[in-house]
Symmetry: C2
Subunit: 151 residues, 2 copies
DNA sequence: TCGAGATGGTTACAAGTGTAACCGTCGATT
DNA sequence: AATCGACGGTTACACTTGTAACCATCTCGA
């Protein structure tokens, strides 16, 4: 049964495997320490680095489904790491921003993330990560370009 | 608020985003056409390319959790795309193999996958995918090496 | 000014997932 | 042969997720 197809060199599979592995590896670093889910961490990261944002903006920025954002924001609010501020001119919109406690948490985890990435860089050699990210950007560009016609 | 941390260049995030995007893009190709979930497709791919395997082997080969494998196998069996054969010497083990129908389905989807990858190669230029996969392999190697100590 | 449709955001529901506990079998030790 | 731990595989449970429906508000054109 000679089959030239090999899962091992199929890009969607390879990307997923690597992503799962690295996700697991990094989430171990903060899941227990901060009791936070990945969507929450992403929302926190977006708010921490960009500043005040709306839920929709968080969604596009960190590319999460709006229900995920909604739940992550609710969780962060519950923890008093962010507060909502209403928009004067459009009452559908809510501006979100981190509280002092939220900002503090953000800084700690961002630190963790930088250390993590630095250790990866040390292991892989300088520039390797940049090359990978460039490759990923190419893939994303190709996918999004191809999707236009299909929508 | 000067923060040098940027989610956009954080590898776990970048990998996940790319993986989600490509997964979505390819799964559209078969989810509707074959009514199959990703774990089922992975198990099918493993069985189709390797031949007879046990559930545990499928798990390591396509690196899926054993409950995922168990459910995927049950689904494929339900659809009569695979059958179980008992091991003479060890009755815990079940050898799994595709039926004629299963093999046929496998060939069709493998075909789809190859076409998909070819179109990516066409869009990105020859060799780009190989470079990315090499980079991913480096990352995985680094992660697994680092994990040894931590286990 | 009054709709019709678009948009920001939330939520009910169904499906997929991992953890942990479980069953049956095997192998080694006694 | 009896026992104990390891192993292959399944399942109950809780939790996460996306889909679709929903509410409230806004916008634009008749």
């Amino acid at each position: 049964m000679p089959d030239s197809f090999d899962l091992e060199s199929f890009l969607p599979y390879r990307l997923n495997r690597a992503a799962e592995l690295i996700s697991l590896s990094f989430s171990r670093e903060y899941k227990q320490r901060f009791q936070m889910t990945r969507p929450e961490w992403r929302a926190l990261a977006a708010l921490g680095s960009v500043g005040r944002m709306t839920a929709t903006e968080i969604g596009t920025h960190s590319n999460m489904h709006k229900t995920k954002v909604s739940r992550a924001v609710a969780a962060l609010e519950e923890r008093r790491w962010l507060k909502r501020r209403e928009n004067e001119t459009d009452r559908r919109v809510e501006h979100l921003e981190l509280t002092a406690a939220g900002l503090k948490a953000y800084r700690e985890i961002a630190d963790l993330a930088q250390t993590y990435q630095a250790s990866l860089e040390a292991a892989l050699g300088k520039g390797a990560i940049a090359r990978i990210e460039a490759g990923l950007a190419d893939v994303e560009r190709a996918l999004l370009a191809g999707a236009k016609g299909r929508r």
